[in-house]
């Protein structure tokens, strides 16, 4: 293969042979596009030399659309037709948004798709996101002078399957060929790692407006490998603003603010927070009605206010290092990403935890797009000698519901993708001809605590005794982190397949909560699991003995014998309602013992089938 790529001596491939590729950071607040030109990754600006496109979409009459700063200007005067932070709505259902106060007219058509009624008709978050992408795409076409081969689009590491799929759909709608969805922290690491060509372990600390992500990556021998990723999708710089605003309220002795007053106070808080990046203290004044308050916000006060939040991010850093099995002294460097890392307090906290100054030489708001552009350049084959490969991981575990409402994890979190895992399952009841397959995502042991991704049914299994059918489930996660699941009954070859395309995604706070809960509840879960397993086992035994009695009871047993077995069955049935593993286990043993003789008789009766086994359900 390499032979074909050798250029004639003295003639490097002409520049026009390079394919045009871009990296897009589709952000909650701001979006950017970047490309690699003459070996350097740079953002693409508009005619006014502005790189950032505000992620705001305004619908006017007759399907006319404004995107960016112009749209942002009318956000307050025309809130119903101006969609701000659409990224938060991507891959969500109306039910997911319960409790959020949003100014839009949502259409409740009982489907799982989210619709917003605008002046130009009903719009889905996918269409709205596509409008932002179109602007970025148009800008790239103009700047690069031709069609774009493809784009890498970044997503938060914590985006679930539904949110990733929605992002991809938005890109298709905008006419963009998606080369890859790339995790944002990974993109940032590429921007730094490849810029400096430093081998070793990089930690990416990404504190944005609404989310916190931390990832550990290893770069060696041309392979960029994500070792672990974690974070909190409900923690961000906006929380700092809230804390300042609350502090002002306390100082004023005012608690009952109107919505508009609170909004104004939040804006003031944000402004003063940003001023503290360069100053040691900021004077503040705020009025509620006739009451006017004046005060000073100092670095020291601000530090006290945000300390608990910063500590939380540091704890999350320690956890992700645990997952990555990396110790502090193995870390080569720490990279800061996200607007909120401009704060000196954040930098200081990170520096203290890791014992070194974090890297912030690349603009934290551009770094994600710059990294995505490099990956896009590699993926279209512009860097044949680049020998760079990126290995990413699954952020959350993927599994199936099994009997008793338990989750059997098929692919564990932080597994390198692409990956295929297969596991065999069987039927629970005699004569069962269909299996309901329920795919879930999350870390907890009970289905109810995880996020449901998809359900489908495998039909046409020929009736067999429980446990005889063999169903092989195959989970495949591709390099974009998207899952597909297939099921096949091995005896008959009956097959079923699904691309897991949930129409709604995980509520972001749910992800974090689910992840945290899985650790706190690890022990509870284990006990619950044991209990459920024992209950399932007991149910199976009861079913088997009942069937055996129905078939051979009269033929093989005297009345006294069958009464003794029935007695133990009643006892087990009663014990199953108990939530004590040991009680159920004992009742199972008792029934097994009571039916031993019956099992032996059945065995003798059907000796020609040459089955061996002691327990009645095995015969």
């Amino acid at each position: 293969m390499a032979l074909l790529q050798i250029a004639e001596p003295g003639k490097s491939p002409a520049p026009h042979q390079l394919k045009r590729a871009v990296g897009i950071d589709l952000g909650t607040t701001n979006s950017l596009v970047a490309t690699v030109r003459s070996g350097r990754s740079e953002v693409i600006t508009d005619q006014n030399d502005v790189a950032i496109v505000r992620s705001v979409v305004h619908y006017l009459d007759k399907n006319k659309v404004q995107v960016g700063a112009d749209a942002a200007k009318v956000a307050e005067s025309d809130p119903e037709n101006t969609i701000v932070s659409v990224k938060r709505l991507l891959g969500k259902s109306l039910a997911d948004l319960a409790g959020l106060e949003l100014p839009y007219h949502f259409i409740d058509d009982h489907s799982k798709t989210l619709w917003i009624q605008t002046r130009s008709g009903k719009k889905s978050p996918i269409e709205i996101s596509a409008e932002i992408l179109k602007v970025l795409y148009q800008r790239s076409v103009q700047a690069l002078g031709g069609d774009i081969e493809g784009a890498v689009i970044t997503v938060p590491a914590y985006f679930d399957d539904g949110q990733r799929q929605a992002t991809k759909d938005a890109a298709h709608l905008a006419g963009i060929n998606v080369l890859r969805l790339l995790n944002e922290p990974t993109a940032a690491a590429i921007a730094y790692g490849l810029d400096k060509k430093t081998e070793g372990i990089h930690v990416i600390y990404d504190l944005g407006g609404g989310t916190f992500d931390v990832s550990v990556l290893n770069f060696s021998k041309g392979v960029f490998e994500v070792l672990a990723t974690g974070g909190d999708s409900t923690l961000g710089g906006d929380d700092f603003d809230h804390l300042i605003a609350k502090w002002v309220c306390e100082q004023m002795g005012q608690t009952a603010l109107s919505k508009a007053q609170w909004r104004a106070l939040l804006d003031l808080s944000k402004e003063s927070k940003e001023s503290l990046t360069e100053k040691n203290s900021v004077p503040l004044s705020f009025s509620v009605g006739d009451i006017r308050w004046e005060g000073v916000l100092t670095q020291a006060i601000f530090k006290d206010l945000v300390r608990p939040l910063l500590d939380k991010t540091l704890r999350l850093c320690k956890k992700v290092l645990l997952d990555a099995k990396v110790s502090f002294d193995e870390i080569k460097d720490v990279v800061l990403v996200g607007g909120s890392t401009r704060s000196p307090l954040v930098r200081e906290a990170v520096a203290t935890l890791f014992g070194r100054e974090p890297l912030c030489s690349i603009d934290p708001e551009q770094v994600v797009a710059l990294g995505a552009a490099i990956q896009a350049d590699i993926l279209v084959g512009n860097q044949p000698e680049g020998e760079i490969l990126l290995l990413d991981v699954t952020p959350l575990s993927l599994g199936l519901e099994v009997m008793g409402g338990l989750v059997e994890k098929i692919i564990h979190r932080n597994t390198t993708i692409p990956v295929t895992r297969a596991q065999e399952f069987t039927t629970y009841k005699d004569g069962q001809t269909a299996l309901i397959i329920h795919v879930v995502q999350g870390e907890r042991e009970l289905v109810d605590d995880c996020r449901s991704l998809a359900r489908f049914t495998l039909r046409g299994i020929p009736p067999m005794v429980a446990g005889a059918a063999k169903v092989r489930m195959v989970f495949q996660v591709d390099a974009d982190g998207l899952l597909s699941v297939s099921a096949k009954e091995l005896v008959t070859g009956v097959e079923s397949h699904i691309e897991v395309k949930p129409t709604y995604g995980l509520d972001e706070s749910e992800v974090t909560k689910m992840l945290q809960d899985s650790f706190t509840h690890a022990r509870d879960d284990n006990e619950q699991r044991q209990l459920r397993i024992q209950q399932v086992e007991a149910g199976r035994l009861l079913e088997a003995v009942k069937n055996a009695l129905a078939i051979d009871g009269e033929r093989l047993l005297c009345q006294q014998e069958s009464a003794a077995i029935t007695q133990k069955m009643t006892e087990l049935d009663y014990a199953m309602k108990n939530s004590d593993v040991i009680v159920i286990k004992r009742a199972c043993d008792a029934l097994n013992k009571a039916s031993e003789n019956f099992a032996a008789k059945r065995m003798d009766a059907s000796i020609h089938t040459a089955l061996v086994g002691q327990r009645v359900d095995g015969v």
Binding site: L179, L389, A479
Partner: protein
């Protein structure tokens, strides 16, 4: 244990051969790591991003195979089970451990220590102690399996092959217990950070 539905394609069927490692229980982890990366650099679908779909699917299958082989050799119990399977001994990874009171007691003791850790004054250091003891247990078992495997590999095996296989299967199961114990320790480390 999950049965594979992944096929090797044109790559070597044997995991050790795939990574250029001698077929043995002790594995040079650094070499495994670097061969793994070299293989992925060659076969990962990203290397074929511009090519036709057939080539990309082929690359995806190969990567799956490489990932699966790496995961198997990376884990001690899975590696042990794989070696026994390669020798033609069917081992049931879901089997119960035949009775070994000494090992079970040691397990119980470590588990009890884990359960009480959150009530300890210095839970982190108590956890460190459990971790070190578990590591020792693992090293001991690793050595034991290694020697069992070497015996099994001898050409003129003595009559007691079945006994040896049973012992090796038990040892593999113990390694699995130990792996689970490490998982629990990790979960506790997370809990302590909350």
């Amino acid at each position: 244990m999950s049965e594979t539905s992944v096929t090797s394609g044109e790559l070597p069927q044997n995991y050790f051969e795939l990574f250029g490692l001698p077929q043995d229980f002790s594995v040079d982890m650094q070499q495994l790591r670097s061969s793994y990366k070299a293989l992925l650099l060659q076969h990962h679908p990203d290397r074929f991003a511009g090519r036709d779909q057939a080539e990309q699917i082929k690359a995806l299958q190969k990567t799956d195979w490489i990932n699966q082989a790496h995961a198997t050799l990376h884990s001690l119990p899975q590696r042990a089970a794989y070696l026994l399977q390669q020798k033609g001994f069917a081992v049931n990874v879901h089997a119960n451990l035949s009775s070994d009171p000494e090992f079970l007691l040691e397990q119980l003791r470590l588990r009890e220590m884990l359960e009480q850790i959150e009530e300890k004054k210095l839970p982190e250091s108590a956890l460190q102690t459990v971790m070190q003891e578990t590591k020792l247990l693992q090293q001991k078992e690793e050595h034991y399996f290694t020697s069992l495997y070497h015996h099994l590999s001898l050409k003129n095996l003595s009559a007691d092959e079945n006994v040896l296989v049973q012992k090796a299967a038990d040892s593999m199961l113990k390694l699995r217990f130990i792996e689970k114990l490490f998982e629990e320790i990790e979960a506790l480390q997370h809990t302590l950070l909350d």
